[in-house]
Amino acid sequence: MSRALINVPAKARKGEVIQIRTLVQHEMETGFRPLPNGGFAPRLILRRFECIYDGETVFAADLHPAISANPYLAFRTVATTSGEMLFRWIDDRGAVREERATIEVT
């Protein structure tokens, strides 16, 4: 199982803009890497990232092979309510990887 690191502040004030950082282990095989026997290693990348918080997709990314291995994505969002944030990565084969984090909003 690949590892994922999520950095979300534990607490925030309502309306505060918080920064979220995510790092997930993945080779991000571009499809352009030549193999010793000729040909290229077949492409397999994470092509989609979503962050769902308080009933809405607050941030999403469509990724291409030019994104580095072990994709790092950082973004900002407004702290609206206490609860769970869902982070979702989807690869070329449709495999879904999900992580969760909780935030306390006061």
Binding site: V17, Y72, L73, R76, V78
Partner: protein
């Protein structure tokens, strides 16, 4: 023995066609086409977008890239989408980010691969349909994807 010759020619031709469709490099033209595709009918205007990248890249496998768009990010005035493009990787697209008023600030950071010394462009589309742009010129000393 016409048939074997013909099939051999077909095989050779097929091989050449395969070589032709595995692009070693995107071109500035391909990048411009991708950028026009993103902009739709809008003409990208320089400004409002800040693209923060190192000018001298030692490792093209992971180039820190941050995009900041000057926008209040309110329901009435916000960034809808940000896209990154490059000139000389195999493909012109890097990533597209979907944002909205819930972001609070139009700020995105990631790490990208660069296969060569080149320019990188960021486009941002606002909810009013206008498109804004910024670019960065980078010198890459160790390009991504050179070893097998």
């Amino acid at each position: 023995m016409d048939l074997p010759t013909a099939s051999r020619r077909l095989v050779l031709g097929g091989g050449l066609a395969l070589l032709a469709i595995s692009p070693a490099r995107a071109t500035p033209e391909a990048m411009r086409a991708a950028m026009q595709g993103f902009a739709g009918g809008a003409e990208p205007r320089p400004g409002r977008v800040r693209l923060e990248m190192p000018t001298l890249v030692e490792n093209g496998n992971a180039v820190p890239t941050t995009v900041i768009v000057d926008s209040p990010m309110t329901a009435a005035d916000h960034v809808v989408e940000i896209a990154l493009f490059n000139e000389r990787n195999p493909l012109p697209d890097i990533a597209r980010f979907t944002l909205g008023p819930r972001c609070g600030q139009a700020w995105v950071s990631t790490r990208i691969r660069l296969g060569d010394t080149q320019s990188v462009h960021a486009l941002a589309r606002m909810n009013d349909g206008s498109v804004w742009s910024a670019s960065a010129e980078l010198i890459v000393t160790l390009p991504a994807c050179i070893e097998g």
